[in-house]
């Protein structure tokens, strides 16, 4: 349930399992209780079994960067590693969606020495299950990462299991030309945001573009309201199942959201994020709360017209310094065939040289290493990097900060239910809490 970052990726995930084939097989496998057997066969089938440990000049990398552009960037980074170390990395690229749906079986079978994954609970979950290699030694050699990135790479036991490579922040995006035309000012409090929205409505704009057909975009809105109202630690505890969804704190989030809903684009449940982004692009909407990837719906000429601000403060005691900025990166298999080479590779991909290659070749992401030469960034990228750099805490987004089964089977339907009927907050939160108790049992 990650956010698709390109249109191709988005389309790929629309393909139902019966068509994608592999998913139905994994469904069958899961039902048969032989998931591990079949699933690893599928993914490991693409793997490099010939190297099997004896050759010390090899290391294998499992990649979910299946779109042409990012795939090309990964290839360039790996070329850089080969040049600098003399070790030959074998990249096994698997379709992004398939990779994610098979990650369980993949990690339990014979995963590649190094594999790509996401920071946050999703990483901690597999680390706690013993499916990830300890990277504390590698972190001892890394530099250029802020504490927030280190925190996001740390497992429940205090060891590091993840090396960040890129990230993208979530914020309120808008078109500079529209705001200049009407003379709007960036709001810094919730009241100012409401007043601005009222003015936008008078000017014939939809204040806030909104879409939730795919279920995940509304998580961004819930997250930011929760971060602004209750703060980062409560977000983490709530996502970890430690806080009750029936608490007044969560109810306040939904109450605030219910107040803001009339300012959002109506009928969001039938709209994709692309369609909502296009309403911003077509100057029909004033603002849009989304990740940096919203820029994909804008032409090259329009890129410089795109700007953003972080979601305004709601509670002065909490401030507006925390935000969602999901981090992508690398992890190591629990038993890599060649641990020394895997650690060398991780050190390289977390280092400045790899980040420089990414900056040069991929204008759509931000690199995690602050030591990188970011002079090639666009103005928007620079601003986004500054925003995240100044953040006190970085959350990973709802479905990366909690159990994936909870996020997709409970939260998505619940948020859609809320959008449909924002009045019954009590019933909604107690339904979530009941299901949470059943899922968070171990």
């Amino acid at each position: 349930m990650s956010r698709p970052r390109t249109q191709a990726e988005y389309l790929a995930r629309l393909v139902p399992p019966s068509v994608a084939g592999i998913n139905r097989r994994s469904l069958l496998a899961g039902a048969a209780g032989t998931g591990a057997l079949l699933g690893t066969g599928l993914l490991a089938g693409c793997g490099d079994d010939s190297g099997s440990g004896s050759d010390s000049k090899n290391v294998s990398v499992g990649s979910n960067q299946s779109d042409p552009k990012p795939k090309d960037v990964i290839a360039k980074v790996m070329d850089g590693f080969k040049t600098s170390s003399g070790i030959e990395p074998a990249i096994n690229t698997v379709d992004h969606n398939t990779y994610q749906e098979n990650i369980n079986n993949y990690l339990q079978g014979k995963p590649d020495d190094v594999y790509m994954w996401f920071a946050g609970y999703r990483m901690r979950f597999f680390a706690a299950k013993g499916l990830a290699g300890d990277l504390s030694d590698v972190w001892g050699k890394l530099s250029g990462f802020s504490d927030a990135f280190k925190k996001a790479s740390t497992g429940d036991d205090g060891k590091q299991y993840f090396v960040p490579s890129s990230y993208y922040p979530w914020a309120m995006f808008y078109r500079k030309s529209v705001w200049q035309q009407y003379g709007y000012q960036v709001p810094t409090t919730l009241d100012q945001l409401t007043a601005l929205s009222a003015q936008m409505r008078k000017d014939g704009l939809t204040p806030i573009a909104f879409a939730d057909k795919d279920g995940w975009p509304a998580m961004g809105t819930f997250d930011i309201l929760n971060l602004r109202i209750n703060g980062y630690q409560f977000h983490i505890d709530l996502m970890a199942g430690k806080e009750a969804w029936t608490s007044d704190k969560v109810k306040k989030v939904f109450d605030t959201w219910a107040g803001l809903l009339p300012l959002h684009q109506p009928d969001s449940l039938g709209r994709t994020w692309q369609e909502a982004a296009q309403s911003l692009q077509q100057k029909k909407s004033g603002m849009y709360m989304l990740g940096l990837f919203v820029g994909q719906q804008f032409s090259n000429e329009e890129q410089s017209d795109l700007d953003f601000f972080t979601f305004p403060e709601i509670d002065p005691a909490i401030g507006a310094k925390a935000l969602d900025a999901p981090i992508d990166g690398y992890m190591m298999a629990r038993k890599p065939k060649n641990k020394a080479n895997a650690e060398k590779l991780l050190e390289y991909v977390g280092g400045k040289a790899a980040a420089d290659i990414t900056v040069k070749n991929d204008p759509a992401t931000l690199v995690a290493n602050t030591g990188a030469d970011v002079s090639g960034y666009t103005a928007l990228q620079k601003k986004a990097a500054e925003l995240v750099g100044s953040a006190t805490e970085i959350a990973q987004f709802l479905d990366r900060d909690t159990r994936p089964d909870f996020a997709s089977t409970v939260i998505i339907p619940a948020l859609q239910q809320f959008i449909k009927d924002p009045k019954d907050i009590g019933g909604l939160t107690s339904s979530i809490e009941n299901q949470k108790k059943s899922i968070f049992t171990d």
């Binding site: 629309l14 994610q100 369980n104 449940l269 039938g270 339907p413 899922i439």
Partner: protein
Amino acid sequence: MSDLPLIQADRAVPPPAATTSTGGRRRRLRLLSRTDRVVITLMVLVPLLLVTGFVWLPAVATVLLSGTDWDGIGPLNEIDFVGVRNYSDVVNIYPPFVPAVQHNLLWLAALFVVATPFGMFLAVLLDKEIRGSRFYQTALYLPVVLSLALIGFVWQLLYSRDQGLINAVFGSNVDWYGDSSVNIWAVMVASGWRHVGYIMLLYLAGLKGVDPSLREAAAVDGASESRAFFRVVFPVLRPINIIVLVVTVIESLRAFDLVWVVNKGRNGLELISALVTQNVVGEASRIGFGSALATIMLVVSLVFITIYLATVMRENRE
């Protein structure tokens, strides 16, 4: 079937009395050469193994797993049994379950009451050899060639609230796929669009096989067109009617691809099959919970399968 030596031998031998059963078996075996026996054994064993391995074992495993809280991680011997907790959770605290059951039934009813009769109606019309009937036939059958996934995309172009054709043409503002009181009907229109063509072709094939002298006789007897159809042609088509019935039931239980393409079976488009997939497929899956849903679906399917088998067997006996 009746040409098989085994069966012939069976028929050739008079039903042996209990005391002479060994003699009967020996004589039967003598009619089969060694090759025959190997071939028959293979023909029985291979499908048996395939069916056991790919149908029965997974089905039994699903039922067993439905009593666990397995998340797909860790060895099988560490699975905890939780009894019927998954089932009670499904019924008591899982909001999408009740709508899913309702939608499945609604789906069956809509295909059965609207789409299937309409397909039959079109078949009867096309059977009249009207001008351009080949063209209509092709046009109506075309959607059946497309996968339901593709049909989802095609109708998305019509249904999209902001950019879809319907709202653009009629200037309306209906959120066809997003409004949960509308989308199930919108999706069923798309599903029916395909189903009608399928039924039409099946039925057309059946109508072509009806002996024309029957109709002539009915006409001579002074029966009206509709009376001749319902009293003479329709009963003659009994085998086709059963196929159509089964196809309709199967299609309604299979209804999955379309809702999955539209919104992964959420917000008004819940179906049991979609809920199973949501829970079982993906990272950190709820395999136990999903299996409980799958078991419920298995039971529902068994009801229809039993009805079908009972009908077919009665047919054979006649």
